[in-house]
Amino acid sequence: MHELGIMESTLAAALAAARDNGAHRVHRIVLRVGALSGAEPDALRFAFAAVTAGTPADGAVLEIDAVPARARCPDCAIEFVPGAGFITACPQCRRLCADLRSGRELELTRVEMS
């Protein structure tokens, strides 16, 4: 349950963005969450409701952009989304690839405010 701490960081960053932009209410918060980030969207939503209650982001919408894992095959020089279970076998040569190009993202990307 480290999602609570992540959401506390999210709220602090969103409120800081609101402050920097002279806004007083936060209406929507957009996150990018990688499939291998270790953060679980349902737990993030649960934590979001808890941490925003009574703040200028109370009632805001949490939007989560899921980022798939992507790996790169050094032999075929292609990037691909691994199949079920995150097994990174190259779709062309079947080599297991360790070079992950995305999937660990955990970012705040947009705040809608007024």
Partner: protein, 245 residues
């Protein structure tokens, strides 16, 4: 905007600085695009730890597994054998008690317990404070035994040089398939309790294949902290990663 009817509230940001948010009612709506890494504070502290360990020529390892996989048992034997030859120190994290620190205590090994008070993982700040409590003069290897948890520690860089993920023969052979993020983050995977392969009917070949499928980047060892099987290879790995003074 005027603040005459505003509601003023104090908040703290991620760095602990307080700031005020003033709520005078809605103004014009707008959307602000930004890019804030949510673990940025931890990642910055981890970077500081990494630079600190490197400048002091200390090899730092982060040991991660489920509870009961044998992290402490592996370290006990490692300190008894490898630790007599190469100066080691240990930071050990648990929710409560200093039982592991007591188990790992040796005259020749600085050990500090981090009790997280319920937190499900160590973070870089806890490691920085723990390392401050240790006398690391002359230490070549720092073992950081994480809280037993195969999920949350995946996201938290501690500043280690090597992340070691352990899987014991008392768990399922399919653990790597069930917990991909942590296994994908490992530089080393150790199968522990190898002496129980026979009694438990543990399918070691299947477990090794599952590790290879999920963590093709990792070096893989099979050990028994009880019998000593495979420990020499573990010590060889540690020796090969030591930083020259």
């Amino acid at each position: 905007m005027k603040n005459s009817l505003s509601q003023i509230t104090e908040y703290r940001d991620a760095d602990g600085d307080s700031f005020r948010v003033i709520v005078p009612g809605a103004g014009p709506a707008r959307s602000v695009d930004l890019r804030v890494a949510l673990l940025d504070q931890n990642d910055r502290l981890a970077g500081r730890n990494r630079a600190d360990f490197q400048s002091r020529r200390i090899l730092a390892l982060n040991l991660v597994s489920s509870p009961g996989t044998g992290k402490t048992a592996l370290l006990e034997r490692t300190l008894n054998e490898f630790g007599r030859e190469v100066p080691c120190a240990v930071l050990v994290g648990d929710l409560e008690t200093d039982r592991d620190a007591q188990r790992l205590h040796r005259d020749y090994v600085p050990v500090a317990q981090i009790t997280t008070g319920g937190a499900c993982h160590l973070d870089a700040g806890m490691v920085a404070r723990g390392a401050e409590a240790l006398d690391l003069d002359g230490v070549r290897v720092l073992f950081i035994e994480n809280v037993g948890n195969l999920v949350c520690p995946a996201a938290f860089d501690l500043g280690e040089a090597i992340r070691v993920v352990l899987l014991s023969t008392t768990e399922g052979e399919d653990k790597p398939l069930k917990y991909p993020p942590i296994f994908k983050s490992a530089q080393v995977v150790i199968v522990t309790k190898a002496d129980l392969v026979g009694p438990l009917g543990f399918d070691l070949a299947a477990a090794l294949e599952n590790i290879r499928l999920i963590a093709p980047q990792a070096r893989v060892l099979t050990v028994s902290s009880r019998t000593g099987q495979g420990m020499a290879a573990w010590y060889d790995l540690l020796r090969s990663e030591l930083l020259s003074p």
